[in-house]
């Protein structure tokens, strides 16, 4: 068949999108990485937590955000509002919260010299104030970071003045996600992979399901694709800079013996992928998926994966041009008994090992990307969401400083 005559499915909806090969330079250039740091990670809304991580007034959480070169202190005030600050004392720079999470007593006392800040970031006590030479507490509170909440996800924006509100930024995704019962699930597992890879390679590896039958032949393929049928996405959308991916569940799902047993006790993950949207919807309250799962990429570095009975997120943290930390967090209903706990472990471990296959691939790609052997890469129609992501990266990097 003449290549020019092959039916093109998804990209026909986007005639403006180019079909040319893409350069390898952005994956290996330290200069480009620094531009991404300034033009993307200090300009967009970045997810750092869930509201359920700081459920009550005085609860706090600290996130090291290396791409922004800062430590972010997230705290719920007594007015129930969640705020974010740079975790840095105005005196001589010591982070005022040393623990990853905790409950403060309405204030943070710097453990260096005892300055005190309340949960609204106000400097309420300057130790040895009379020996300073004019420290105005009002000018020396914790430096705030723009912070807002969407569907229970806490986002921050490091820009001095964000170019759009969080609601506006997320608008292309909100309709698709609204109604998903996030509140039914609580944080159950979290894997943290410190990989030698450029963050974009990692993001892109998840922005298409075409690799499922090949890379994940031994793991997820049987639950999320139809073995023997040519792969095509059930949905592939560009939602502004964000993306959406879904795959057809298998026509026939034969769970392995242990998965079959676990299915009698609770919902895991492979079985959640494999369940048709018309099938048993434990915990999903009638929310309709577009396929085996609904996977949203929120530009730049967040994924939200919705399934029947569980959901997961990826936070993809760039550290250097060739180093990225991948956090994978899974949410299940709180296990009420050993059987449910077992089923959830079947789910999390099967998922874990699938993603370990991805991690292996990421690092192998990175090991040769700087060789100069290839100046360009090729993308097919089913990889449209990757091209959309690259376009968004380039658009932000090329944008004039605001």
């Amino acid at each position: 068949m003449d290549l020019a005559e092959q039916p093109v499915l998804f990209m026909d909806r986007h005639p403006e999108m180019e079909r040319t090969p893409v350069p390898t330079e952005p994956y290996v250039s330290a200069d480009f990485f620094e531009k991404e740091r300034e033009k993307i990670f200090r300009r967009t809304w970045i997810n750092v937590a869930r509201e359920t991580d700081v459920p009550e007034p005085n609860d706090y959480l600290v996130r090291e955000v290396q791409i922004a070169r800062t430590s972010v202190l997230i705290v719920r005030g007594k007015d129930n509002v969640v705020r974010a600050f740079h975790n840095m004392c105005s005196h001589r720079g010591n982070p005022v919260a040393w623990d990853e999470r905790g409950k403060c007593r309405g204030a943070f006392t710097c453990q260096f010299h005892g300055w005190v800040y309340n949960t609204q970031g106000e400097l309420v006590y300057v130790a040895d104030a009379d020996r300073f030479f004019g420290v105005d507490p009002q000018q020396n509170g914790l430096t705030p970071i723009h912070c807002d909440v969407w569907q229970g996800f806490i986002f921050v924006n490091f820009a001095e003045r964000p170019s759009e509100t969080l609601a506006g930024y997320m608008a292309p995704i909100t309709a698709g996600v609204a109604g998903y019962p996030f509140a039914d699930y609580s944080k159950t597992y979290c894997y943290k992979a410190d990989e030698a890879v450029n963050w974009k390679t990692l993001v892109e590896a998840q922005l298409e399901g075409w690799h499922l039958p090949t890379l994940h032949a031994k793991t997820l393929a049987k639950s999320a694709t139809n073995i023997g049928k040519r792969f095509t996405h059930s949905a592939l959308d560009c939602l502004g800079p964000h993306g959406f991916v879904s795959t057809f569940p298998p026509d026939v799902f034969n769970p392995s013996p242990v998965t079959a047993i676990s299915g009698r006790y609770g919902v895991g993950t492979f079985d959640a992928f494999a369940v048709d949207r018309e099938g048993d919807k434990e915990g999903s309250d009638g929310f309709k998926l577009n396929g085996a799962f609904d996977l949203y990429h929120v530009f730049p570095n967040l994924y939200i994966g919705l399934l029947n009975g569980t959901y997961f997120t990826y936070n993809i943290w760039p550290v250097a041009v060739d180093r990225t930390i991948w956090e994978i967090t899974g949410y299940f209903p709180t296990a009420q008994n050993a059987g449910q706990l077992f089923a959830q472990q079947v789910g999390s471990i099967a998922f874990r090992d699938t993603l370990r296959e991805d991690g292996f691939t990421h690092e192998r790609i990175c090991s040769v990307m700087s060789s100069g052997a290839k100046k360009q890469l090729h993308l097919q129609d089913e990889e449209m969401a990757i091209r959309n992501f690259m376009n968004a990266v380039n658009a932000y990097v090329a944008a004039r400083p605001s």
């Binding site: 990853e100 999470r101 905790g102 409950k103 159950t188 597992y189 979290c190 894997y191 943290k192 992979a193 410190d194 990989e195 031994k218 793991t219 392995s256 013996p257 242990v258 998965t259 047993i261 009698r264 006790y265 296990a335 009420q336 008994n337 050993a338 059987g339 706990l341 077992f342 472990q345 079947v346 471990i349 099967a350 874990r352 090992d353 993603l355 370990r356 296959e357 991690g359 292996f360 691939t361 690092e363």
Partner: protein
């Protein structure tokens, strides 16, 4: 005062005593233990455990999962080790698959959560 029986598991699961070494407390430990064993050894464990798995889960379901006595806690850990064994036997046919990131570099943060919660509880109570 509870007598220490010398058994790892409840008496009706005495047949699983040879596999007590797999009943580790953390996911990392269970995964690395399975990774380090020859495949044939894990097949033996898998084959012994599979027919007892539903009975073990039904039995454990009669307890409060947050307050399991010692033998029952060990039995649950053995069931969780069976999950690791099932990956090796059912999916990879290998206890240390070649093309995966090592588990230690794909770190299960949740192993720390119970310990952190216990410490936070102790601090709050102090």
């Amino acid at each position: 005062m509870t007598q220490y029986s010398g058994r790892s598991f409840p008496s009706r699961f005495a047949a699983l005593e040879p596999y007590k070494d797999f009943a580790r407390e953390t996911e990392l430990d269970r995964a690395e233990t399975i990774n380090a064993r020859p495949f044939s050894e894990i097949v033996v464990f898998y084959d012994a455990m599979l027919p007892l798995l539903p009975e073990a889960l039904d039995y454990l379901n009669t307890f409060d999962v947050k307050a399991l006595p010692r033998e029952e806690a060990n039995l649950l850990r053995l069931c969780l080790a069976m999950v690791e064994a099932s990956m090796a036997v059912e999916l990879f046919e290998d206890t240390d698959p070649k093309y995966l990131m090592p588990i230690r570099r794909f770190f299960p943060e949740h192993d720390r959560w119970a310990g952190d919660a216990a410490k936070a509880g102790a601090r709050a109570a102090a």
